[in-house]
Symmetry: C5
Subunit: 350 residues, 5 copies
């Protein structure tokens, strides 16, 4: 949620809603067309050169870090990004969406990281703005998740060098969505572990693990379902910035989001089943405990009563005088015990 | 719910359905255009001047307090508000909605306050009616939630002074919707607290807190989902009172309502998970208690039986004559106890 | 459900499916236009005069009691009501619906009464058939719920006297729907009572009250959701029997049905939460009981074992000879007891 | 489910998927128009005369028993029924559906019987194929559920004799759907019985009865929801085999299917509530049992400890020498017991 | 899930995501028209002849095994299959879908096998690509599930020899979907077994069997619901590769997928009911155990107290001197026991 949201500020005011940080914003610039390719990295944000529109090449600015509001403002102005779009770029709580502006298309989506230590899905916001011949990608964290894609451009592998900014946008989204599958795989493994633990030793269940997995699934679903809708709108856009041949690729990544969404639903159903299994295992264990308590009680209480009986100090208790009284009592107690055991056996408590 | 609803009264009859109060209705009047700005406050309702339509300025009447039916009637007449719209203004149970009338647009929505002491979301109804050059805003409570907006108008910050009544309407809605996020944040914090409490000390759970949080979420959702629909209708309205450039802003606030609605769903799922966690913690605690009881019983009942056995008064109990009888019994009892403990250990009850 | 449904009878056969009764059908006739007004009541059904169509006035026949099939038949014929509509009029299990016939519109809906003694929502079927200049209203029970409306017509209050049969139909529906709100209020109060009872004394819960409230909510929802759909169809009808100016009023009552439907959903969610609260309270109480049992057992079983130990009759039990043996045992027992209490305290069982 | 389904057979292959039987297929033939009426019954399937198309009359072949594949084939050919339709006729697991073929309309639906002994809803598949001047009705079981309809045709009651094959089809469907209501009534009665049993004596609940009722409701819903869709398609068909005046009747039966579907939903919600009630009653009973156990234990364990105390054989136990020791102990024990009872009273355990 | 998914690879890269295997890919080639039929089998993938387009015959390549990427590439090129389609062919986690490409139609679906030993549904991915005069079918496993279909083609049974590649595609899908029904049957049988086990001996329930059955149902549903959507798109395709007469057959198989989807929903509801039944049986059993424990305790604790009482060593306990003291105590104990039993009987605990 948006912990630092502005109330009463005019719309379009840039307010960074993420964690404050002192790290410099990193900007990687790539330009390419079928024949040429050039790449530069800017560590210090103020050195960013002025954007020059050039129709014959594709220019990609990959901005990592959103907290430098001044830089954001400068970029927004030099590419003519709508102020509402920039407001969304710096709002890390923005839900995935697609908006078509006059001079470009804005797409917001979430990238996932899975932290295996705490079994937690970590989310960062990625925003894309692409127009004629340029793509701006903004990401919250500084890890360079688009490196494989830049390598592909550099190596000229695949068809990316022959295509425009719409295809590059697709390629960026594709990288992000591909990462969803590995998160889904991780959650699936966790579910299998939980199932094994419940079946083998219900007490060994890590408290709250089921709940954490549920929260992870909710996070993934909350990101992927709006993205699916956003991609659907993107595909149906009739903008001439999008080449018809790109549509098949967009459909493909759209299909992947459907698959991820379906997987989260499936995993959620399975998790729901595991929770039921867990509850019934706890109840079953309680039954076991109670059965044991009852058996112990039911065997010893009657025979203890007998020992109490013959521990009384009445002057006249004829049995106490019997020569074999003590042995007869033992026989009686063994018979009672065996009878109880037989009865519990028949009741399948043993 | 509408505790004081009229049955059998003709439609359009103004019936105030909120809490009766003696406080004067407060009216703040603002008029502005790009160059000029004037603001007045009326504490006593009867001094309200007669509305004069003026196309070159935007006039905003902010009415706080709905209980003065006569005043409401007078306002309705001077601005030509439809009687059904006015009936809705004074009905504090009105669900959020949008209606287009001949001479203006009516929007009803809910504003939230979060009372941190009782952790309760408090709701008030806000109604907006805007036409050519004027906006009427009606709110139930007297706290001045639109002050930041009036300040922005006064300071001429943002683009509001260059725009018409449609943009002002948007800005008012935006202020209300922005406040939703902080309520969502508060509920989220409460959920985190509940989760911590359940994990650490399940008995410390404040009875009913889960239910109260659920009710808060229901309240928010009940307000935001119809508002989302109302904004959707508002956007699709083809009225010439709405400038095309305002649409992007309306879409933005519409998007915020979607985000709030999705957040309530998410929080609800998480809350549902917490409830399951809570129930399983209670069951687990019961298991623990029962295990302890069973262990105590299973250890002491057999050895107590032995003490009873040798407390009997039979004339012939050979063991009682043994020189080391007492010590042998102690050995037997220690063996039994250790055996039990080993067995419970193996069963992981200890 | 339809306990007395006909199987194999031709469609359009009138079969009264409600409770048989000997009470006479009561018919109240009102005719009015802007200037004139006349009202008559027929206690004995056979005296009903023949309907004479008159375009300059609105004629309203309010029929209370549906069991007199012959009378129904006569009415159907004199107004040209379709036989399938009449079949629906006398079927008290008919779900709310709207059908447009050639010479009129048929609307079926449910009116509610709340019986505070048994906290039960009671339902009756109301059918409306209106055509050019006339409205027929059929209701199952004899209580005169439309009296306030007839008074309004008589007193010429509101705009009803200037309008046609479509507006009268709206007004009748409005009266019925307004009554829904008070039922919702009653159910809301019941929920608050249940919540208080659960929090204060879970055992004082009236068995089955939660279930009864749920059934009440189901009843209301089952009636209001189809009515909402029916009104939606009614509004979209392009019949020239409906004056365009009536639409705003129909929309208003349609909006009320949405509000009632949303309220039932909300209350249902709250009730679901109460049920969870109830179950967890029962479990918590069980935990309390078990804790108490376990504490009592854990304290007394060990010290009772000690008393048993020194109640044995071995010839050699050295401790028994100790001068302070008895007092030392007391010390031991007090230490054991205090140790247990301290341990339970630490475990927060006390 | 389809226990005998063919895999790999070409589509359109007739495979009877129901129970094998030796009973002869029964065919009842009726032909009628406004003036004439003739009816014949064929017990032995091979005697069936060749169909002769006759536009001035309606011909109805009612075939009871689907296992005679050769007969089915012969009928299919003589009426030109599409092979896929015939495949569906003999598949008793076919879900309700509507298909329009070139020379006729095919409708598949389910008829219910309620077996009061086992409280089980029994389902049979009914298929209808009607074309110009003829209706074929196929039913799985041999009981003659359409007799009342044939009697109506014979007695010329209602408007059926003046109408065509479309109206006859409607009338057949109407008979089947009317039977649904009595099944719903039966299930409703069962629910009331279950509720009474739970409230009065939770142990008397017949194991599995709730589950069986749930399965019955699932069966009904599974049959009626697809039928509703099928009828909706049927109504919207623009075939000239369907007279416009029949539409009002089809809408009526369509409305009945909606009502049945809504009733199953309602009953299911009620049943869900009963299940919750049942579970809470079981828990409450457990609480009662535990309270009783705890009270017995808490009263007797302390006073038994006292008796053990004074049963010890220490040489020095001063109290044992007291003249009134025994009586003082009795007083102590009575005080302890009364104290315990008072405490339980205050805790509302008694 | 896709355990081996590529991240950062260009779209259209063929990555086999299934289990690695050394088995040779098996290819069965069939060509036929109304008069001719020829069939060949290729065990070693490299011998596959070059495809020659021939409009007068239908050519069917059935490829079993997807792991030979080079072969896949070769096939893709010789038939002009789009690279995104081929990427989907070798992705065994691909969800069922339908895509229309310029030179053919791609359909992905899942085939099921039921392993009776572990009661697990096993899934394999089947992909179909058909164009003018040819059908490519790709399946993950090597078992020849389409043999019956090839036999039908060889034997010229049914209408398949007179039809084109669209009908063959339908026939292949039909074979796969027919197999769904037997899986549904198996799951249904498992549910009946589970119900029997719960009713007869709740402890005999195989741990996790309910969960496994739920997972099976989720698997089936996850495969059949997207397939239903894919078939719906297939039917609505206006491609001239699909003969209008094929539509009735596609609708038939589409209807089957609806039936399977509805059955999974039904079975899931039934399974949900079984789970509730299971939980209530566990609780009931617990109640039984507790009742027994309580009865044993309540009978023996009071009479044991009495024996303790008269085992005390007070010097003055008058009752101990009574001649019939012992016998009187026995009478008292029998009376207490009978009283307890009567009381438990009345409470229906016995």
């Amino acid at each position: 949620m948006s912990k630092k949201r502005k109330i009463g500020l005019p719309p379009g005011t840039l307010v960074y809603t993420g964690e404050k940080t002192d790290i410099d914003v990193k900007i990687t610039y790539v330009e390419y067309n079928e024949g040429n390719h050039r790449s530069e990295t800017y560590e210090r944000s103020d050195r960013l050169p002025i954007h020059q529109s050039n129709e014959s090449i594709v220019q990609w600015y990959d901005i990592r870090g959103l907290h430098d509001i001044n830089l954001m403002q400068k970029i927004a102005e030099s590419f003519g990004v709508h102020s509402l779009a920039m407001e969304d770029v710096v709002d890390v709580h923005k839900r995935p969406s697609y908006t078509e502006y006059k001079n470009g298309h804005f797409i917001s989506l979430k990238a996932f990281d899975y932290d295996p230590k705490v079994k937690e899905v970590q989310t960062q916001t990625i925003s894309l703005f692409f127009g004629k011949g340029f793509v701006l990608s903004f990401q919250e964290h500084e890890d360079d998740i688009f490196k494989p894609l830049r390598d592909r451009i550099a190596n000229s592998s695949g068809r990316i060098r022959q295509r425009g900014s719409d295809y590059l946008t697709y390629a960026v989204i594709d990288v992000v969505v591909d990462r969803y599958f590995s998160v889904i795989d991780k959650i699936e493994e966790t579910l299998e572990e939980i199932e094994d633990t419940i079946s083998n030793d219900v007490d060994a269940i890590n408290k709250g693990e089921i709940q954490e997995t549920k929260v992870n699934l909710i996070k993934v679903r909350k990101s992927v379902v709006p993205l699916r809708e956003a991609l659907n709108q993107f595909i149906r856009s009739e903008s001439n910035l999008i080449d018809p041949s790109t549509e098949a690729y967009l459909r493909d990544v759209y299909d992947h989001t459907i698959q991820v969404a379906e997987s989260t639903d499936t995993l959620r159903d399975i998790l729901g089943g595991l929770q039921d299994l867990y509850l019934s295992e706890i109840s079953l264990k309680m039954n076991k405990i109670m059965q044991f308590l009852t058996i112990v009680t039911a065997i010893f209480v009657p025979i203890s009563f007998l020992t109490g009986l013959y521990g009384m100090n009445f002057e006249v208790i004829p049995e106490l005088k019997y020569r074999n009284g003590y042995y007869m009592l033992w026989v009686a107690m063994v018979v009672i015990t065996l009878g109880m055991l037989w009865w519990f056996k028949r009741k399948k408590w043993l």
